[in-house]
Symmetry: C2
Subunit: 192 residues, 2 copies
DNA sequence: GTGAGAACTTAACCATGGTTAATTTCTCAG
DNA sequence: CTGAGAAATTAACCATGGTTAAGTTCTCAC
């Protein structure tokens, strides 16, 4: 049950197996069905999750009420809403299961206990925040300076496994275009 | 010379004047002429600055070599490139003075000295990072879900002082459109 | 296997924004 | 004050992407 999360953590910052086991005893496990809301906009995120299997999309609601996909979390990745965790801010986004999900969940009130097990856990936590910042800045840069075509190709290249499990309408939304427009783009790329 | 930065810090987290004075002794002061590069893309940012007066634009370079404005720093605000400060990563952006600038500069190697003066300085530093993350995420959201018109109005409302000091072509670039297109938008808003 | 609904593609039409160039307005050094 | 260069606006043209609707393919529960 803990094999995947242990690998993820050890790949980034090695820990004695004993510490990991103790820390993971504070977590519980939760299942979501395809289509379930994992977190709704307006709700507060009080946990850090690790996705053993499944796929999650986060969506923003625009002024017309339309849901815009703006990010994906796949199996073997951590899942949380950092802003909420740090500042108790309510989520701006919906998080919806696109596949059945199994998630290891650590409630935020357990964090101090884990940090006291081994202070390196707090360093790991900070590292994950810094990664979040880097990713958010890259996402903004990406939107500003890249054409839709470049962003489409970049997405396929960077997340081929996610791409193959995702209905194209989510890709279109993520790129900020409509499905017919994505079809045109794909046709153009086939020919070229 | 330190009045403004002291006010900025005390507004967010009050410090004994003595600690602030000692900390600020580690800083030096630097002047930039309109048009000067404060930091070039590829260079590493090794300081935290506080802008006593002036205006700075940050720009990204797209695939055609065009410079895209993506942010502004005005007087009485802190200035740095967070990614570089934390991870020693080179800047992705140019930072250019749009007006003559006076900047208080604290070299990054002085940070541990200041943190040891009063540990609350480290808390303040972390708070500034968390703010950076919040702003980056909001910027991405803003681009994804708001129309150009909304973003234009939002910019005027949020940064009226910056708007009034800024040639419109920078606003156009920041919004991701060309100057003629911004002219059309402004004309439409006049009539409506 | 079959049928219903979702996903994807295609086509036709239209509105919006890019591009270019001309014109006007602004700014500031001399 | 004057003239040169930058900034902003305007107009005309064109390419691109949104919209709608129709048609095709896919998926999956029964």
């Amino acid at each position: 049950m803990y094999r995947q999360v242990k690998k993820y953590i050890n790949d980034r910052m090695p820990f004695p197996d004993d510490d990991l086991e103790k820390a993971l005893l504070f977590s519980d496990i939760q299942y979501f069905k395809k289509g379930d809301y994992i977190l709704r906009a307006g709700e507060q995120c009080r946990f850090i999750g690790f996705l053993n299997y499944g796929l999650i999309v986060s969506t923003l609601i625009d002024e017309t009420g339309k849901e815009i996909p703006c990010g994906f979390t796949k199996n073997d990745c951590f899942f949380t809403y950092t802003e909420g965790l740090i500042n108790n801010a309510p989520s701006h986004k919906h998080f919806i299961a696109l596949e059945d999900c199994e998630m290891l969940m650590l409630q935020k009130d357990k964090l101090p206990l884990i940090f006291s097990l081994n202070p390196k856990f707090e360093t790991l936590f900070t590292k994950m925040l810094a990664d979040d910042l880097r990713i958010a800045l890259l996402a903004e840069q990406n939107i500003r300076i890249c054409s839709v075509e470049e962003r489409y190709l970049h997405f396929i290249e960077t997340f081929p496994d996610v791409f193959n499990r995702l209905p194209l309408k989510y890709i279109a939304g993520y790129l900020g275009i409509e499905p017919p427009s994505l079809s045109r783009l794909r046709k153009r790329l086939m020919k070229g």
